[in-house]
């Protein structure tokens, strides 16, 4: 069995996950990264994407939207502003949000906040991917 490290995913309103894991994968602003135990100390900014947790008993997926992650050799702490398990996501709503964001990006005029629309789109895609 692979080595284990501590993972904590903390949201403003709850402790989302707290346990021993052998690997964590998540999406940062610099690209997707996978973290094994004994990683070098690193702090990254999170981009909307899927958080994959490899536990002893198997894989767990969750949608992770924004925040930052602090990696230490024996401990990973994710400060997430929003994190959701697949069963907490409303697929219909996510699809609708995706459509809305796409429309906004396509029909862009000077008023549209492109950066905001793009993050919204990324968030919606992350939610949809977690379910699939």
């Amino acid at each position: 069995m692979a080595e284990l490290m501590k993972l904590q995913v903390i949201c403003p309103d709850r402790v989302f996950y707290d346990g021993e894991v052998s690997m964590v994968e998540l999406n940062t602003t610099e690209g997707e990264i996978g973290i094994y135990p004994r990683h070098i100390p690193l702090t990254c900014i999170i981009a909307p994407g899927i958080l994959t947790i490899t536990e002893k008993s198997g894989l767990k997926n969750a949608a992770l939207h924004s925040g930052f992650v602090q990696i230490l050799p024996d401990k990973v702490t994710v400060m997430a502003e929003v994190a959701e398990w697949p069963d907490e996501i409303d697929l219909g709503r996510a699809e609708a949000a995706k459509g809305r964001a796409e429309d906004r990006i396509k029909g862009k005029d000077s008023k549209t906040d492109i950066a905001r629309a793009e993050t919204a789109l990324q968030r919606a895609i992350a939610r949809i991917n977690v379910i699939k």
């Binding site: 903390i10 949201c11 403003p12 309103d13 709850r14 402790v15 940062t28 602003t29 610099e30 070098i40 100390p41 690193l42 702090t43 990254c44 900014i45 925040g67 930052f68 602090q70 230490l72 050799p73 702490t77 400060m79 502003e81």
Partner: protein
Amino acid sequence: MASMRDIKRRKSSIQSTQQITKAMKLTSTVKLQKAKARAEQSKPYFDFMYETVHAMLAKSGNIDHPYLKAKESGKTAVVVITSNRGLAGGYNNNIVKLVTGFDVPPKDMVIYTAGSKGRDALSRRGYEIKADYSDIVEDPQYSDADIICKDLLEAFEQGEIKEIYLAYTFFKNTVSHEPRRIKLLPVEMDSETTKSDNVPMNYEPEEEEALDMIIPKYLTSIVYGALMQAVASENGARMQAMDSATSNAEEMIDSLSLLYNRARQGSITQELTEIIAGAEAIS
């Protein structure tokens, strides 16, 4: 001696007030429990954020970043968290006193309020209310804290304000709440929290960019944490105030009952004396 009718009227008026205070005490007890649970759940995020940011800043010592540098000109912004409703004892007043006791003259201050009681009290005293977020106090969400912080950071970046303080009530436990003020920006580095055993940290993206992202989140989490604490304190303060109001009413009712009984007795005695005197006069 007051007449029987007056005493009776007074007693029943106090009784109905007591019913109201009793009901308010019960509702604030329930609300307190909810708010307390939420405040406790938000605590790990708040604590870790504080620790991380301070550890980061301590390690990256003389980093040159606009959020960390004190500006020379501009006003002092204060975020004031109070409640929308009164009858909470000294809860709102303590915060207002804390703000008026600042060592900055009122004309150099701009106030951002959450809670209409604090807003009204401060604007009466001649403070400039820049923005008001009173409708979020009933049920503060993380996104609400985010909005406040965005406004603050914008004003900070444009040089309108040079420093940001937060005045709120810290929830120690159910019976003790403490008005507090903390400095939000520029982030203060206190050398005490610096831990020497900390491993050097790498940043991806670069430190400055990372700080750009993390400091707004840090602010938001502190404001959110403070909102949670304030809501719990508000309900705690109201519960206490209503509890003592209820027991005061009880005491008043007791002493009024005594007076009433005495007056009743007095009137019966008087009536008897009159009847006997009348009977004697006839015979």
